[in-house]
Every structure is written in C-alpha cells, then in structure tokens.
Amino acid sequence: MSLSATQPGVGRSVLVGGAATDGAGSATHSGPTDWATLRRFSERHYEPSWLRDLRSAWWQRYQDTPLPSGQEEEWRRTPLADLPRNAELLLDAPATELDHDADLAARGVIFTDLRTAVREHPELVRAHLGIGEPVESHAAFWALSLAAWTAGTFLYVPRGVEVDGTLIARLVTDRADVAFVPHTIVAAEPGASVTVLEELVSADGAAGWFGGTVEIHAQEGSRIRYARLQRLGDGVWNIGAQRVVVGTDAEVTTLNAEVGSRVTKVGLDVQMTGRGGVSRVLGLLAAGGDQHIDINSVQELVGSHTTSDLLYLAALYDRAHAAFYGRIVVRPGAKQTSSYQECRNLLLSPGAGAEPIPVLEIETNDILRCGHGATAGAIDPVQLFYAQSRGLDADEAERMIVRGFFEQVVGQISSETIKALVLDALARRIGSSTAFDEADEADAA
C-alpha cells in the first residue's frame, strides 16, 4: 500500500519503555508499554492531571482485565498467539490530518486532533472521553487504548448545529512494526447533525498492532453518519473496538470498510438507550491473500420504539476468511422495537471461507420485528453466464457482480465523497470494472 507523498507529522521515533512500573500496579500483561512510559508521555505533553489520572485508572483496568484466552465465544475464531504483543507503543504518533474550517469553528464545531483538543478544549474532552463501559468482547483492548492513546480524532457538534458536506480525517503512519492505539470521539449534542469519514493508513511489510477505538455519542434528536475506511498495512493486527450510544430520537449510521490488515478483529457495541432512536450498522469487507477478518457486534436495545439494523457484506478472495459473531439483545423494557442483522459472504475462490453467526437474545415479547439472515456462497453461475453473454469476459463479469453485491450497502451511503473514497479503496481488491465505470459515465452524461 503506497502512502501519499505529503504526510505531516508521521511518527519516526519510538520511546523505549521498560522502566519499573509504579503507581498503576504491577504489570500482568507483557505488552506494548508500561505505566512509567505512559506517565512520562503524559508529563512531556503537559496533560492535565485529570487526564493522567484517567490514563492511570484505565491502565489499572487493563492490568486487571485478562486478554482473551480463546475460550470466549467471540475469540474462538481468532487466536491471538501471533499477535505482535511486544511491538512498542508508538509515542511520537502522527496527528490526524484534517481540514480546518473557520466557518465551522465559528459555529462552535470542534474538529481536531485529540491531543490538540485536550489542550484547547479540555472540559469538552473530559466530558466525552472514556464514558461508558468498555466494548464487552474487547474489554482489555479498550482499556489499553484509553490508557495509552497517543493520537486520535475529536469531533464535537454543539446543540442544533447542522454540518453540511463531509468532514474527512486521515490518520496516516509509515510505521508498521509498532503498537498504535489511537482513540476517536464523535459527539453530537441535541439536534446536531454531521457526516464524517475517518481513514486509517499504515505501511505494509512488518507485523504491527493497531488497536484504534471509537466512541460515538448521539444525544437527543441528533444525526451522526460515521464512516471508517481501514487501509492498514498487510502485516497489521487490527484489534479495534467501537462503542455507539444512540439517545432519544437520535439517528446514527456507521460504516466500516475493511480493506487492509493481516488480521482484523473488531468489536462493535451499539446501544439504543433512548426512546425512538435509529441505528444502521454497515460493513463492507474485501479480503484476499491470507487475510482474516472477524467482526463481533452487539446491538443492544434498551429504549422502547428503537430500530437497529446491521448489514455486513464480505467479498472473499484467495484464502481469505471472514467470521462474524453478532448479537441482537432486546432488553425486557424495550417495547415495540425493530431490529435486524444480515451478513452476506461472497466466496470468490476455492480457499476462501466464512463463518457467519448471527445470534438473537430476546427478553421481551412486545417487539415489532426482530430477525437475522446470513448467507455464504459463490457467485450464481446464471448471473455470471448472463453477464458474459453480454460480452464481458469472466473477470470483468465477476468484478461487476461483486460491485453489484456491495451495492446493498453502498446504496445506503448518502455522502458522495465517502462513496467515492470507499469504492476506490475497495477497487484495489476487487479491481475496477471498466464496463461498470463506463456505464456510470454514460448515466452521468
């Protein structure tokens, strides 16, 4: 994967940890860092004491939380034996690249690198950082990220402010052989609205550990559309986690496009806390080589009259393997809810495999709709034959069918900017179908 030519703030130096731990207890995990290193990092950046205390508390929690043993239902399909757990924490981390918009700033929107946000808006960061419980399946990794983040993105939209267009944040590093656990916060106050794309890029080659975490807080009546385009290097273990909290009448759409990495093992917890909230949890996976992608999702319906729909589509080439273990949990008080999860896998070569496991746990009878669907299979030969009978060669026909397969999610992306970037990233795997592009152009003409 090539990096763009202009990369400000790309990290070069890694501070070596190894000093005796103090303050935050004894080290039970040999891991990417230690408390002394984190404390020095915090002091060097003049972090406020509340933040140092918060890091210390999460570090302690990380120490107290065992790493998955492989016996857990969520971890049976992704052994951690080869996780490069001794990769060193990337301390001199790159800042998020993003466009500063003076007009937005004037309206009170804060869109910046997380470390900058700590300096300039400490109280707002404090109000949103690490609130809520860890993503359950990834509790240890969540705690590590909250303790040891060295970069990240902060987006805050005040009450009633509607941001037009698409905000773009890029986190780019040319390092691979490090542990990097950046944290992202997206917070919308009541009635606010925003669309944002976060793109993650790292270098190919060496084995590394990426443990990025995301918190999304949508307050009453707000709308958040968050897309995450993962283009990490081909040696990277991507052990990320995302927590989404959807308040009363709020609407959140998340899209995870997983393109890069050696192993991706992401936990998504979506909590529908307020009455009448809506969430759409979308995913696009294009994997090849020996890539292994394993998604754990929880759609927890707590508030009444809430809606939560999940749709993950995977196109699997070569020896790629995709697992999906997702749960819908409808709590006893969650009356009149509607929820669905759907996971579809297109197997494009004999070595590819899929394990879709959608689980329902329903603790009330007063539901409007609840269900799931999962499929795995090759391209329908009839479709392939049809496309070829129209003059496409087999490869082109396959590409077109894969793009058509992804359309079920792509069609739900309202931002043209996000759609273009995601399709472009996916094209690296599925190839671009010239016939398809020409058809697009013809439509546009």
Binding site: P332, I357, N365, I367, C370, G371, H372, G377
Partner: protein, 470 residues
C-alpha cells in the same frame, strides 16, 4: 437431586401423564450414585461380552475426565450421585401385552400404546425405567429380515452386527453426557432394515420413567441398509415429582447408500426431567435422513440432532419444534455437516415460549473444503407469548468451500394484537384465538407428522395454551 425451583415442576396441572405406579416392585434397584462398581454391575447383570464391559469402563473414564458443559442451559443443579442408574421391573421383554405386568400394562393402556399398535404401527417397543418391557413387530416384516429389538437383546442375539456398528457414529469419548450414556446405557431400540426393504408403517418405541430420581439412559441404534427405508417414532413421558430425573439417551443412525430414515420424537417428559440427549446420523451416497424433533416437556432439554452427509447427493433435514412453558428451557436445534459434494440440507425450527419459558435455537452448518455444490437453508421462527418469556437464536456456520449456497434466516415475533383482535371479533376467546395462531405457526411441522401424532401434537399445544394468555 433438587430442582432449581421445585415449585415450577408442579405447575402444569394439565400434564396428563404425571401419575406413577406405586405397585412397581423393582427386580433390581441399584443404590443411587455412580462408580466403576456400578458400571461393572450393570454390565454383569446384563451378562455382556467383555468388549462391552471394557467400552463402558473406558467411557466412564471419559465422563469423569470431562468438565460439565457451561453453555446452553443451567446444569449446575445436576448431582450425578443422587440418581438411580439402573432400575428394572421385569427381567425380559414380553412379545404380547398379556405378558406385561398388570400395572405396567395399565400405564401403557392409559398412554394408548397397545391401541395404536393395533391400528397403525408396524412394531412397538416399550421401555419402563431401565429395561425394555415389551417388543413386537409384524410377522411379515420379520420374515423380510427386519430386526426390531430392545438394544440389550440385540447385543445378545446379533453380537457381530452389533459390534460392527455400535459406537461408530457417537464414540465413547464424545461429549460428557454421551460418555455417561455409553458407560451406563440400558434399553433402547435396535433396528436393522435389510437392503431394499421398505417398512411402510412406522415403528414406535415408548419411553416411560416411573421411579423417582431415575436416570434413563437408553441407547438406540438404527441401520438402514442400501435402498431401504424406515420411519421410527419415539414418545416419552414421566410422572411429575418434585425432585429431578435425568434422561440422557444416545441415538446412532446409519443410513446407507440410497436409503431413507425418518426419526420422529414427541418429547413430553414431566417438568422435573433434565433431558440431555445426543442424536447423530451418518448418511451415505443418495441417502436421506430426516429428524422430526418435537420438544414440549422436560425442565431443561439440550438436544441438537445432527446429520453427517458423507456421500454425494445425500440429503439431511431437521424439523424442530419447541414449546417452553413456565420454568422450562428448551435448548434445541440441529446440525448438518456437509462432507461430500452435491449434498443438501434443510433445517426448519419453530419455537414458542410462554410464561417464564425460554426457547433457544442452537445449530450448526459446516461445509468442508471440496464439498462443491452443497446447499443448505436454515429457517428459524420464534413466537413469544408473554412479557417474561425469552427466545434466543444461536445459528453457527462454518463454510470452507466456495462453490456452495448457504442461507440462514430467523424471525422472532409475538402474537399480534391485530391478529388477536380480528379473531376475537369473530367470537373466539383470547385463549382460543392465541391457540389458533400458535397452531397456524407450527403447521409446517405438524403436517410432517403421521396423522395420529399431528392430532396429538395439536392437542398438547392446546393444553399448554390453556389459561396461558393474559
């Protein structure tokens, strides 16, 4: 052995099979508990060959070494030392109802078995606690070489064939409860259908637990030789006690090339029975295996009938219906393993939970590499009838072959207010309307049952529904 909440076991007043026979004087009532000595003693009483005694002991070591499952239902209250492992009323299986002891005969009369045998069955077996008390098959089937015996008798009479197949589908070191069964098994049915023979009417076995704190561990082995077919039906009931009983059966089925087996279970254990059963079939080239699995009774059922499709074009089906009332947990489902090309499977599950009942569908579809053109469809529907009821769906899929078509779909719904209102506006009471909706919901399964069973199933559901809807 205590139940987590003994009061719950008493609730189904309309459970009409809850009586027990006080007159029963056991010939053998081994003291409670499990040990190597108990395993050896069971084998000794039965006069078994040494290989079987050794296999029992081997399985017992596996049972002891393995941890209790921690998934599925709550098994923490099971005390393996507080169970009778071997209780017999008679020392042989009668071939005529007149030879069955009167009080047992009365029990089977009340269950309607002799009547059913006359009318529409090709053969009947009856097991009472640990041993088979009755076994009979139509003479013409016997002439064609069909074997339908109690499993113990089959071991004595057909030792070679028995040893060839026994434990080949579910080995002694399978899961903990299957290992327990292999160690202490007693009773069950043995069926062999020769090449090309079609058994047109169903064979039935009826399992009855009478003794309190009883463990019933029947072992069933069915071999359908090439091109043959057979339909086997089993029913189960037990008296209602406030202490727990354990039913842990193992069923092995071998469906050879071009053969067809259907295995139907109507499980209506009283609500103090832990029903932890391992059922597995292997199907070879062009064979068809069908499980029709109805779970209405028991305190907790954990049962996932499975099918290994080992030959090309083999087909497997599981039709599962579960009804969980007050305090019950039905953890049921099915597994199909596609291990040959062009194999197909279909799992259909319908579950209903009511009161504080909980139904869980748990299933697996696995496709091995190279099993091209495999097709599988899994369809689960759940109906939740009360606020406190719970329904879960755990469908596992492991697909390691590209050229396949695998689909799973599930829905969960409640009885809609609009549906109820419509029916009640036509003069039905709420209970009648709910029962009608439930009957409609399970229709696709019920229509697969033989007529008599379909009627029985509808009646059982109606009983379960009485006074249920609030």
């Amino acid at each position: 052995m205590a139940l987590p909440n003994p009061a719950l076991s008493q609730l189904p007043d309309n459970y009409k099979y809850g009586w027990h026979d006080p007159e029963m004087k056991p010939l053998h009532l081994m003291k409670k508990g499990l040990s190597t000595a108990v395993v050896e003693e069971i084998s000794r009483i039965k006069g078994e060959p040494k290989w079987m005694t050794d296999l029992r002991l081997k399985a017992f070591r596996h049972f002891e070494a393995r941890p209790m499952p921690t998934w599925g239902g709550d098994l923490t209250q099971i005390d393996f030392q507080d169970i009778y492992y071997y209780v017999t009323a008679t020392d042989r299986a009668a071939q005529s109802w007149d030879d069955v002891p009167d009080y047992i005969r009365r029990t089977y009369d009340r269950l309607g078995i002799p009547e059913a045998e006359k009318k529409y069955l090709a053969g009947v077996g009856g097991q009472y606690d640990s041993e088979v008390v009755y076994h009979n098959i139509h003479a013409d089937l016997e002439k064609k070489g069909v074997i339908f015996l109690g499993t113990d008798e089959a071991l004595q009479r057909y030792p070679e064939m028995f040893r060839e197949y026994y434990g080949t589908v579910i080995p002694a070191n399978d899961n903990k409860l299957a290992a327990l069964n292999t160690a202490v098994w007693s009773g069950g049915s043995f069926i062999y259908v020769p090449k090309g023979v079609h058994v047109d009417l169903p064979l039935q076995a009826y399992f009855r637990i009478n003794t309190e704190s009883m463990g019933q561990f029947e072992r069933t082995l069915i071999i359908a030789d090439e091109g043959s077919s057979v339909h086997y039906v089993e029913g189960c009931t037990a008296p209602t006690y406030s202490t727990a009983s354990l039913h842990s059966a193992v069923v092995e089925i071998i469906v050879k090339k071009g053969a067809r087996v259907r295995y139907t279970t109507i499980q209506n254990w009283s609500h103090n029975v832990y029903n932890l059963v391992t059922k597995r079939a292997v199907a070879y080239e062009d064979a068809v295996m069908e499980w029709v699995d109805g779970n209405l009774g028991s305190h907790l059922t954990m049962k996932y009938p499975s099918i290994y499709l080992l030959g090309e074009r083999a087909h497997g089906e599981v039709l599962s219906i579960a009804f969980a009332g007050e305090g019950q947990h039905q953890d049921a489902g099915g597994k199909v393993i596609h291990a040959a090309p062009n194999t197909t499977s279909l799992i259909t599950s319908k579950s209903i939970s009511k009161g504080t009942g909980r139904t869980s569908y748990r299933g697996l579809i696995k496709v091995y590499p190279g099993c091209k053109h495999s097709k599988s469809t899994v369809r689960c529907d759940a109906l939740i009838l009360s606020d406190e009821a719970r329904s879960d769906t755990y469908p596992y899929m492991e697909i390691d072959e590209e050229d396949v078509t695998i689909g799973h779909e599930a829905t969960v719904s409640k009885v809609g207010a609009e549906q109820l209102f419509y029916l009640m506006s036509r003069g039905l009471t709420e209970a009648e309307a709910s029962a009608m909706i439930v009957n409609g919901f399970i229709e696709p399964i019920v229509k697969e049952l033989p007529m008599e069973y379909a009627v029985e199933m509808n009646r059982l559901i109606q009983l379960q529904m009485e006074g249920a809807v609030g």
